[in-house]
Amino acid sequence: MSAEWQAIWLTLKLATVTTAILLIVATPLAWWLARSRHWLCQPLAAVVAMPLVLPPTVLGFYLLILMAPSGPVGQLTQSLGLGTLPFTFEGLVVASVIYSLPFAVQPLQAAFSGLSERMLEAASTLRASPLDRFFSVVLPLARPGLLTATVLTFAHTIGEFGVVLMIGGNIPGETKVLSVAIYDHVETLEYARAHWLAGGMVAFAFLVLLSLYLINGRLGGHGLKP
C-alpha cells in the first residue's frame, strides 16, 4: 500500500503548493479585474478563463514544447540553473497553477466586485491606507469568496489528470499523482486497488464540497456562483 500512500501524499503536496501560489497570484489579479475599468480587463479575464474551456491536452502539449530543453521556457529555466521542468514536481506545480487559475480568480473576482463602495470610502475617511483597507476591510468581507477560491483550487488540483499525464512521465514519488495511479490500476485491471483510491476520492470530493456549502451557507456569502 506504500505506493498508494506515496501517490496520496504527492497529490496533497501538489494541491497545497498550487493553492498557496495561486492565492498569492490570484488575489491582486482578481482585485484588479474586479475594480479596474482598464481596456485590458476583458482580454485578461478571457485569458484567465481559458483553462476552463481548453482541453488539458492543449495545455499539456504546449507546456511540453515550451518547457523542453530547446523551448523558450526550458532555455530560461536552464540558464537560471533550474534544469528543465517536464517530469518534475516543479513542472507539475507550474502546470497546475495555470490549469487551476480560473478556479482561484473567479470566486475572488466575484467577491471583490460585490463589495460596497461605501465601506471602502468610510475606511479611507478614517485614514486607512490602501493596503490597510485591503487587509482589514476587503479581505474579511470577501471571506466567502476567499474560502471558495481556496477549496476549489485545492480540489481541482487534486482532480487534475490530463496535463499531468502529458508532462509528468508517471514517476512514482515525483509526478505519479492519485489520478494517474488510479488510471494505471484500471489499465492493468487491478480493480481492487483502483476502487480503494477512486472510492476515496469520491468521498473526499463530496466531503470537501459539502463543508464548503455548509460554511458558506453559515457565512451567508456568495456560494459557488461567480
Binding site: 511540453l64 514544447i65 518547457m67 523542453a68 530543453p69 530547446s70 523551448g71 528543465t84 517536464p86 517530469f87 499525464l165 512521465g169 508517471n170 514517476i171 494505471d184 484500471v186 489499465e187 492493468t188 485491471l189
Partner: protein, 258 residues
C-alpha cells in the same frame, strides 16, 4: 420551420443510410507501435478489397482492458502474444484465429546525431537526462525496455531518471520533443520518423524476450467477413512486405501460424 425539421429528419436518415452502406467497415484496435504501418496497411486494404478498416490506437494493455469492457473492436492487433492469448481464454476472441503478424524490434533512440554511438556505453554512463520508456505494465515495448535494462543490470541505476509514457507512442514523443535525452522505442517508429538524422542503437535481441505481435479476431466479429478478410490480408505477401519495410521481422508464409 416545418421545412427545417423535415430537413433534419432527412439528414438523419441519410446518415443512418450511410452507416448501413458502411457495413463493410471494421474497427481495429492497434498497438501504438504499429500506428504508421497499420495506416498504410489500411489504405492498401481499401485499394485491394474495397473494404475499410478504421483504426484505434493505444497501448496493448489499455486496449485489452477496453476490449474486456465491450469496446466495439472487431480485430485486435496487439504488441505481444500474452493479451491475445488471454482474450482467447476469456472468450473475448475466436479460438484459433490468433497468429503472429510482426516481430518487433526495440531500439534506443535520440533525435540528436551525437547523442551516442553505442547505446550500451551510453546507458552505462551516469544518468544525466531522463530516459523514456513505455509503461512496462501496459506496453510490451516498455516491458522489453525493462528487460533490457535488467539484463544490463542497469534497472536500478536508471530507475530515478525513467519517464514512463502511457504507450510507446508517448515514450517516442518524450524523446522527439527533446524532453528525454533518449528512449527505448520501436524500430518501426524511428523508420516512420521524417527526420533520418539521429542516434539509434538496435538493442541486441539477447537482452529482451522476443516481441511477438499477435493479431486475433474478436468474438463480436466472428461472423464478420470483412474482419476475416482483414486478417487474411495481413498474412498476404504485399501486407507482410509493408510490415517489413517498417522495420519488423515477419514469419515466412509457410509457418505463419504462431
Amino acid at each position: 420551420m416545418r421545412l427545417g425539421i423535415s430537413r433534419v429528419v432527412l439528414a438523419v436518415c441519410a446518415l443512418c443510410l450511410s452507416q448501413l452502406v458502411r457495413a463493410d467497415e471494421i474497427l481495429v484496435a492497434v498497438a501504438a507501435n504499429f500506428t504508421d504501418a497499420s495506416r498504410e496497411l489500411a489504405a492498401l486494404f481499401t485499394d485491394t478489397t474495397g473494404h475499410r478498416a478504421r483504426l484505434s490506437y493505444g497501448s496493448t494493455g489499455k486496449l485489452y482492458a477496453q476490449i474486456e469492457h465491450g469496446a466495439p473492436f472487431d480485430v485486435f492487433l496487439a504488441a505481444d502474444r500474452q493479451r491475445p492469448a488471454l482474450a482467447e481464454q476469456n472468450g473475448l476472441a475466436v479460438t484459433g484465429s490468433r497468429f503472429t503478424y510482426a516481430r518487433g524490434k526495440l531500439v534506443l533512440w535520440s533525435p540528436h546525431p551525437d547523442a551516442f554511438e553505442d547505446g550500451e556505453i551510453y546507458l552505462n554512463q551516469a544518468p544525466t537526462t531522463p530516459l523514456a520508456i513505455a509503461n512496462p505494465r501496459t506496453a510490451p515495448y516498455g516491458l522489453a525496455a525493462r528487460q533490457t535494462l535488467e539484463s544490463l543490470t542497469l534497472w536500478t541505476t536508471w530507475q530515478p531518471r525513467l519517464v514512463r509514457g502511457d504507450s510507446i507512442a508517448q515514450a517516442f514523443q518524450f524523446v522527439a520533443t527533446g524532453n528525454a535525452g533518449a528512449g527505448f522505442v520501436a524500430l518501426s517508429q524511428v523508420s516512420a520518423w521524417p527526420d533520418p538524422v539521429g542516434s539509434m542503437w538496435p538493442v541486441p535481441e539477447t537482452l529482451y524476450q522476443p516481441i511477438e505481435q499477435q493479431a486475433v479476431l474478436l468474438t463480436r466479429a466472428q461472423h464478420n467477413p470483412v474482419a476475416r478478410a482483414w486478417l487474411q490480408f495481413l498474412r498476404s505477401e504485399p501486407a507482410q512486405a509493408v510490415i517489413r519495410r517498417y522495420g519488423y521481422a515477419t514469419d515466412s508464409p509457410n509457418d505463419a501460424d504462431g
